[in-house]
Every structure is written in C-alpha cells, then in structure tokens.
C-alpha cells in the first residue's frame, strides 16, 4: 500500500468524489463507533457535500447518508478513485 502520495483525508476531497477508506485516525471508541455505522477500512465512501465555513461533511457510505463533524471527517483517510 505504498500510495501515500494519493492518500488524503475526506475533507480534502471534492464534492461528489469517492474513495476507498484506508485508515481511521482516532481512539478506539471513535473508530468503533464509525465501524458500527459502516465506516471501516476497505469501504467505499463518497463525499456528497461540505458545508460553509469549514463545517461538517455529508457522506454516503454503504448506501446510507451520514453527517460527520469536521474534526472527525479529517481523521478518515481515503485513497480517491
């Protein structure tokens, strides 16, 4: 998995762009919470839209739409498609 040049956080993706989740940076509680919602490494995630003034991010993952706080979203690293 030596594609570190391409890997970025989902807050750096464009609206409508998708990517495969590579890793989640955060404590165990946080990553488990995300996994319970279907956000785990290897899953396809699409950024639907970001809000104004660096607010939360709306994503689509495993057929569901979720809103993630900015700080949280910055911890989800993906390999864009």
């Amino acid at each position: 998995m030596n594609t570190s040049g391409k890997i970025k956080s989902i807050i750096d993706m464009q609206d409508g762009q998708s990517g495969i989740i590579v890793s989640l940076h955060g404590g165990r509680n946080l990553t488990k919470r995300l996994a319970d919602l279907g956000i785990s490494p290897g899953t396809l995630i699409t950024v639907l839209r970001k809000s104004l003034f660096a607010g939360p991010v709306q994503v689509e993952v495993s057929g569901s739409r979720l809103v993630l706080g900015r700080g949280l979203a910055s911890k989800i690293l993906v390999e864009p498609k």
Binding site: L37, G38, V67
Partner: protein, 643 residues
C-alpha cells in the same frame, strides 16, 4: 382480561427506523413511561392483548450498536442478556439496510430469539430497492417480515410470528466470521467452558477480542488467565490485519453486512433526480440552505407567536372573569387569596401551554418527522462547535426560544452527560417567549425596535461566550457530530399528535407542582405585607447598583414564577402601562437585561433539578443571578454615555 399466557417482547433498532410507530401501534392504549433505574433515560413499556396472550412490549432506546460506549447501549444489552426476553424484534430501516444489518449482527451474537422487521419497505420500493426477503431469512436463519409501521402494514403478521417463535423454539446457529477470528473464538471458548455468566460464551469471547471494558473487567475478576490468553490472541489478529483487534471484529461485521446486502438487494437506478434529492440539495446548500432555514424557522415563530398572542389574550379575558367570580363568591380573605394564587398557577400554565407550547410542538414534530431537523444540525454544526457542543444543540436552542422548559428537556438528544449539561445551561440563557414579551413590550415599544433586536444580538454573544467558558471549565472531551441524514418523508398526523400530547403532558407534570407551590408561597409573603421590607432589603442591588426603582426587587421575585410577570406587575405597581413616564430608556434596557439572564423560571429550574440533580440546578441559579446583576449594572453605566 383474557390473556392467560404471557410473552415479553423487546423492540430494538437504530434511530429513525420507525421503532416508535411500531411501539405505538401495538401498545397505544396501554403505555407507561418511567426511567431506567438510576438513569434519566426514558423507559417505555406497554401491553398488548392479542390471541389469548398478554404481550408486554418494551421499547429500547434507539442506538447504533451494542457496545458500552453510551448509557443507552449498555442498558439495552444488559436488558437483553439479563432479562432474556421471549422475542427481540429488530426494526430495520429498509432504505439503510447495510448500516442496520451491522446492528442486527450484534443482536444475533447475543443468541436471543430475534425477528427482523424490514420497515419502510414502501419507501425502499419507491427508491428502486428490491430486497429478497427469503434469501435474507436463509442467510441469517431468522424470521424476516416486511412492514410499513406508519400505516400498520405487516404488523399483525409480525405479532403472529412472535407467538410462533415463542411457542416453538428454534435453534438458529451462529453466523461465521473470518477464519482467524473463528480460530481465536474457538480457543477462548475452551477457556470459558467453566465460566458461569448470564451471557452466551461465544458472545463473551467476541467481546473480549473487542476489548469491551465491561466484559474484560468481569472476566479479569473471575479468571485472569483468560485475559492473558486474549492478549496473546489479539496480538496475532493485529499482526494479520494491521489494526487494533477491536476494529478487526467491527470491520468483520461491517463487511459481512455489506456482503449480505450485495446478495439480497437489487437496485433499479433512477434516471431522474427525485424530489427528495432536489429538496436535499436546496436545504443543505451552503447558501440557499441558510436562507431556507431562516425562512422556515422565522415563519414558525411568526405564526406561533401571532396565534399565541391572539389565544392568550382571549384566555386572559376569560380568566379575569373567573377571578372576579372568585372574589365575589369566595370572598377576599387571606385563605381565599392563597387559594386563588394556586388556581392562578394552573391557569398560567394553561396560558403558556395551549397558545404557545402546543402549536410550537406541533410545528417541531412536523419538521422532525419530515426530516428537516437533521438539516439544521448539519448547517449549524460549525457555529455550535465554537461553543463546545455540536450541531444537534441548535435544535434545543430553537425550542428554547419558544420556552426554556421543553428546550432543556430536548437536551437529551445530546450523546454525553457533559454535552447535555452544557446545552441545557445555554438554553436557560436563550430568551424565551416570556422574555420576548418584556424585551418587545418595554424596550421595543418605548426605546426602539433596533434596541430590542440589539438585545437579541447581545444575548447571542453572551450565550456564545458562556458556551466557550463552560466547555473549557467542564472536564471531558467534546463529542463530534455523527448523525444519519434521513430522507425527507411525509409527516404522519397521528404520530405528530401523539408525540405532541406526550410532550405536553411531560411539560405539565414537571412544571405544575413547583409553579403552583412557589406561586402560593410568594403570594403568602405578599399578603403578609413583607414585600416592602424585601424591596428595601434588595435596594442596594436594585437602586444603587442597577439604578432601577426599589419595586424592581419585588418584580424580580415574581419573575421567577414566570418572566412576563415582571412586566405585568410593573404595570400593576406603577398604575400605568405607559412605562416611558416612569422609567428612563436606560432603566428599561437594564431591566430587560436583568430579566433575560437573572435566573431560569421555576419551571425551568425544576427541569434542571430533575435532569441534573439539585446541586447543579442550584449552582446554575446562583451563578446566573450573580452574572446577570453584575452584567446589567455594567450595561446601565455604559448606557449613561449613550442617553
């Protein structure tokens, strides 16, 4: 009743799955609410009599997993494992199948009898999602019924299935995870053989590998060797998968859920954008989203307040006649006056509840059911974050603008205790409709509309600063927003009326006793002729520091009952409603500032008490009284430069 045989049924599922509709359909006439022992989390129970059976239904809190991260999650899994209900109905949102299945897998791990209800199947069909129910049934070896709970479709079949499952036990077997995980589970099962706990052994093994705090603690006390063994197995799993073993299990579940979904779901893609997509884009857009939000919330307040003022003044006339009747027929004795003040407390509540809170709740529940509240949370998250809480807190603020009581109650939507408390404290600073009466009736009318609006801006700034300070000094980490974005859907009249009724009932239950009792006490002090003494006693604060007339002391005491009494009593004491003749502009603004912040009204205090204990409620009152007095005194002095 005819029910000889008993069945215990539990409803479990994530939020927004229509769980409440199912619960109401079954138990609408026989419900009782209470609290989980030692928690402020609501416990909903009800009874259904069906086909010779007495079926007790318990609605578990809406949660996303069965880990021990939140109190709700812990309660749910403890209940299922300790009370061993006859059947657990897992309600699933068919339009979010994959995410919901992750929760289902966790339920199946608990080895309890489960029936899956594929709810909102009609919306799924509309979205072009076809689900092979038989295949799902085969894969998870568990009965599956499709339902549309809002219309009652499929709910009779579901209950028949419950009875069937109760009568003939069926061994489901377990779902198999990846080879390495199964290997670890097998090794742990050997160690766990002689452990006696209410939980299934396989589940304990999985939870150990997941590093579940609660289970690790229990096992460490019983047989510490197992923990050593687990650590060893975990490090092997971590070596293979490259991340923490708790994640390995969670990943396994989410991949299994997505594998199952792929096998049973056929999607017919839509060519055109649906109305839902259009609405979603407009209402969450970075510009039009805010515009729509201001329009919707503005329209809500405008219509609620116009309706409320109209009905309230109508009720006022009626109640004034009652008061006259009381004085003429019961007499004007000390006891009669006290009796009237008790009645007045009830009437005052009716005068808030019917004209303002009732239509306000109806509006809120329409927006909630429609799916709009989640959009507000999305749009406001960033701003809320700066106060140390996340976007959902904005909903409590909006409710608080109507009335602080339901505003504080709504703080239950926040995930952690810390968040709940901060939000509730900030809500007590939000100017409610009663405070708006003072701001507009005094400052807006006699000083100028812009000054009144300026006071709102001032309140916003104060709330902002208070939020920043409280999130700094209270221990704990802020929780980030994680929220499913629901699709827009048609609100159901029945469910809105039901929820409004429940919320209104709660408002009356909490507020009534304390409003009536404190009303009688204050009236007794008044009739005993102690009020002048009190106003003299308070005059160093009211006259010297705040620059207000001495009677303000009495007004502020009555204002604790209901804030708008400050204005009503002011008129009564001055003998005129032409406030400009007796108060200067800066006195009016100062009085409005004190009224805004000086203390939550008694009804709000009782909510704080109920939700957070009397110590915290008292602390909030004392801090806010001190803060408001200091602030208003400074404002008064600064205003000297303006006027």
């Amino acid at each position: 009743m005819n029910g000889e045989k008993k069945i215990n049924v539990v409803l479990a599922g994530q939020g927004n799955t229509g769980k409440t509709s199912v619960f109401n359909y079954y138990t609408g006439l026989h419900q009782h609410t209470g609290n989980w022992a030692g928690k402020t989390i609501e416990k909903l129970e009800g009874t259904l009599y069906y086909k010779d059976y007495t079926i007790d239904v318990l609605d578990l809190p809406g949660i996303y997993s069965l880990t021990t991260l939140s109190a709700e999650e812990l309660i749910s899994r403890e209940y299922i494992t300790k009370h061993k209900p006859d059947v657990v109905i897992n309600i699933i949102d068919s339009t979010n199948l994959e995410r919901n299945l992750i929760f289902t897998l966790q339920l199946l791990e608990l080895e309890c009898p489960v029936i899956v209800a594929l709810n909102m199947i009609d919306i799924a069909k509309k979205k072009g999602i076809t689900i092979d129910i038989d295949k799902l049934q085969d894969i998870i070896n568990t009965p599956v019924i499709s339902t549309v709970a809002s219309r009652g479709t499929g709910l009779t079949d579901l209950m028949d299935k419950v009875i069937e499952l109760k009568e003939k036990k069926h061994d489901r077997g377990n779902l198999i995870y990846g080879k390495e995980i199964e290997n670890c589970i097998k090794q742990l099962l050997v160690e766990l053989k002689d452990i006696e706990l209410p939980y299934p052994h396989r589940w304990i093994a999985i939870k150990l590998l997941e590093k579940d705090n609660e289970i690790v603690k229990i096992i460490r006390e019983l047989k510490p060797v197992i923990i050593e063994k687990t650590k060893h197995l975990e490090s092997r799993l971590e070596e293979i998968h490259g991340h923490d073993s708790s994640l390995v299990i969670a990943d396994e579940r989410s991949h299994l859920a997505s594998q199952i979904t792929r096998e049973i779901v056929t999607m017919t893609p839509h060519k055109k954008m649906s109305l839902n997509d259009w609405l979603d884009i407009i209402t969450t857009h970075r510009f039009s989203g805010y515009l729509v939000m201001i329009l919707i919330v503005g329209a809500m307040f405008f219509s609620v307040f116009s309706f409320g003022n109209w009905l309230s003044s109508g009720l006022d006339k009626v109640f004034r006649n009652w008061h006259e009747w009381w004085n003429n027929n019961i007499g004007i004795t000390f006891i009669a006056a006290l009796g009237w003040s008790a009645i007045e407390g009830v009437l005052a509540l009716i005068q808030i509840a019917l004209p303002y809170i009732l239509p306000f709740y109806i509006f809120l529940y329409i927006l909630e059911e429609w799916g709009y509240m989640a959009r507000i949370s999305f749009l406001m998250d960033n701003l809320m974050h700066k106060m140390g809480i996340h976007g959902k807190g904005c909903i409590s603020f909006i409710i608080g603008l109507g009335c602080n009581v339901p505003g504080c109650l709504s703080c239950r939507i926040m995930e952690s205790k810390r968040e709940r408390f901060i939000t509730a404290v900030l809500v007590t600073l939000v100017p409610c409709s009663a405070v708006s009466v003072i701001v507009f009736g005094l400052v807006g009318k006699y000083v100028g509309l812009w000054w009144a609006l300026g006071l709102y801006l001032f309140a916003t700034a104060i709330i902002f600063i208070a939020g920043k300070i409280s999130s700094k000094i209270l221990p704990g980490e802020p929780v980030e927003l994680i929220m499913p974005m629901p699709d827009y859907k048609m609100p159901q009249l029945k469910s809105i009326l039901y929820q409004t009724w429940e919320a209104l009932k709660e408002f009356i239950y909490i507020a009534a006793p304390i409003v009536i009792i404190s009303g009688v006490i204050i009236q007794a002090i008044n009739l005993a002729g102690w009020m002048p003494a009190i106003s003299t006693f308070l005059s160093p604060v009211t006259v010297t520091w705040l620059g207000l007339p001495a009677i303000t002391g009495i007004l502020l005491i009555f204002g604790i009952l209901r804030k708008e009494l400050i204005l009503v009593m002011l008129a009564a004491y001055l003998g005129t409603t032409e406030f400009a003749e007796v108060l200067s502009s800066q006195q009016m603004i100062t009085l409005a500032v004190v009224s805004m912040f000086y203390v939550p009204c008694v009804a709000t205090i009782s909510v704080l008490w109920k939700e957070f204990g009397w110590k915290k409620a008292l602390a909030v009152c004392i801090i806010e009284i001190a803060f408001a007095i200091i602030l208003a005194g400074i404002v008064f002095r600064l205003l000297n430069f303006v006027f």
